[in-house]
């Protein structure tokens, strides 16, 4: 496993996305919803970085900001050493070639009026460089590598199953030969037996094309299986980063600990020795002062209520945002 300083491919620094909403009346100041509130992490070339957290933690918003489907409020994103956020839209296309996204919902992310082959070939149309015959040939090749039979190329999305639609989405993401793929909950809409097929496919494609993955999911078992390194998010903040083994075996942040031991284990022979994390995730409209997790944390003390902890490197390549480790 390379050390972090080598081959840093995607660098995200202090990324922020605030949504402004007027709370009450015409004359009150807008309240920000801090969906992503200062997130910093890097992804190494060739690795799979898993981003976990429960709904509302900001992981999907983060993904959309990185790829500029939404414009961040602040911060920086570098891909292969070059800054992305300041790029004018014209030049953004060059980066979109290098960085693609697979969405959660294979139903709404495909154009229902286009045939499968055309959906996959569409990025090639936009990006240019190939004539129609070559585009379709490449699209057919992409269909085959994601395991879709050639006789399906003229079918419309509604004629495919969920897993097959996800394969179309994956083929489309591969069309321009990207280096980084952001997979935003790519499996949540699929049946369990189909999830296994798509996980294996994503692994095979990573090996075949030397892809780097940012894999976002709320499913901790899946993230454990697919990731080299893992980041844990809570209420718009990254609270822990480490290798897969570090985070899953020795989680440092109280929220990571709570999260991991909440996962039900499919083994009735092992006694359940879980404690339940009480309370609800606070509203991002009214986040707690200080550490965002402190109201639910059994180990919090006075500093936690006042000061937001920074993400600090506690051990080589292991980061945690918690006053307990200071």
């Amino acid at each position: 496993m390379p050390r972090l300083s080598q081959s840093e491919f995607l660098i995200v620094r202090n990324l922020r996305k605030y949504y402004y909403t007027a709370k009450a009346g015409l004359f009150s100041r807008p309240f920000p919803i801090k969906a992503v509130d200062g997130v910093t992490f890097t992804v190494i070339k060739g690795e799979s970085f898993g981003l976990v957290g429960e709904s509302g933690c900001g992981k999907s918003t983060l993904a959309r900001c990185i790829i500029r489907l939404e414009e961040p409020t602040g911060g920086e994103v570098f891909l292969g050493g070059e800054g992305i956020l300041a790029l004018p839209k014209k030049e953004l296309q060059a980066f979109r070639q290098k960085m693609q996204i697979i969405f959660q919902d294979p139903y709404s992310s495909l154009n229902p009026r286009k045939k499968a082959l055309d959906i996959i070939a569409e990025p090639l149309v936009i990006r240019g460089g190939l004539d129609r015959k070559d585009r379709l040939e490449r699209a057919r090749w992409l269909m085959s590598i994601v395991g879709l039979r050639p006789e399906m190329e003229a079918r419309y999305p509604h004629e495919f199953s969920g897993g097959q639609r996800q394969r179309i989405g994956i083929a489309r993401a591969l069309a321009l030969n990207p280096e980084l793929i952001i997979a935003d909950e790519p499996l949540s809409a699929l049946d369990v037996s189909i999830q296994a097929q798509v996980i294996n496919l994503l692994q095979d494609l990573q090996d075949q094309f030397q892809l780097t993955y940012l894999f976002i999911s709320h499913d901790l078992s899946i993230v454990k299986h697919v990731s080299d390194r893992v980041g844990v998010m809570y209420l718009g903040h990254l609270v822990e980063i480490g290798t897969r083994n570090q985070v899953y075996t020795h989680p440092l942040h109280p929220y990571s600990q709570a999260l991991l031991q909440s996962v039900p284990v499919p083994n009735p022979f092992v006694p359940r020795k879980r404690w339940v994390l009480e309370g609800d995730v606070p509203s991002p409209l009214n986040p707690p002062k200080g550490c965002p997790f402190h109201p639910r944390c059994s180990k919090h003390f006075s500093t936690c209520q006042e000061e937001r902890p920074e993400l600090r490197e506690i051990a080589p390549d292991q980061f945690v945002a918690c006053h307990l480790d200071a």
Binding site: A196, I199, N200, S221, I222, P264, P266, P268, F269, D280
Partner: protein
Amino acid sequence: MREKLLTIKDLQTHFFTESGVVKAVDQIDLELDQGDTLGLVGESGCGKSVTALSIMRLIDPPGKIVAGRILFSNQDLLLLGDSAMEKIRGNQISMIFQEPMTSLNPVFSIGTQIAETVRTHRCLSPKESLDVAIQMLDLVKIPSPRQRAQDYPHELSGGMRQRVMIAIALSCQPSILIADEPTTALGVTIQAQIMDLIEQLKEKTGTSVILITHDLGVIAETAQFVAVMYAGKVMEYANIKTLFGEPLHPYTSGLMRCIPRIDAETDRRNRLHIIPGIVPNLLELGRGCKFHDRCERRIAVCEQEEPEILQVYEGHWVRCWRAQE
């Protein structure tokens, strides 16, 4: 010898669509013992939700319960008239659903909604039923229940709304609670809270539970008995330790082997075992075993003829030609 609370025999619920007849539930037998949690596990289209709705007699056209018996409290629920069934639904058998937001009425306070169920089944005044509602909110551990009773569903988080659903479902102290994917829409820490709550309430109120889910982890931690369903049929039925320890149906074992495990030490280079193919289209089912085209253990007869479900060991039922090998 424990009481059999609910016995389902030969249930068939079909949907008569323009494209053909979908046998969503195709001859299933199930039973629930007093004090147990029965798990119904399966992927989409397996019929687990339709089974639950059939028990509650909430099947609307084009669906119809075409055959079977559902024996509860010395009567066959399928023979009851509508008003007799209304006295049972929400009162003796209750149900909670996956999406608490769409199950709660957005224009009434949560206190009113709980009280409504109470007033429907018990002869209490509005004030008395509201008091019961507040007690129920306390039972499901909603803090400051008297104040929260006046909240509207949109003011609550997903986890809180699910607690309100549970409060409504248990307000008349039913003998059976049917929970249809109660935590799928919730985060994992909230899921743990809700499953824990259901367990505690089960002990406190003596309610038995039918838990419908696709999550084998949730099943392993809460169910005493499990039925694995596929394409409208029960493929395997056993107690929880037997099912996980010695699954006999290839679908059951396939399912268990293909899920990524949080308790496993796998390198990410390991490929997951897979069940090839996809869940069948219920309009295009063939003659043989519903699972045969995806089954790694299939033999010639599997394509021709559907196996019966047989008690291979005591209490362990399997629908497979090769179960006894």
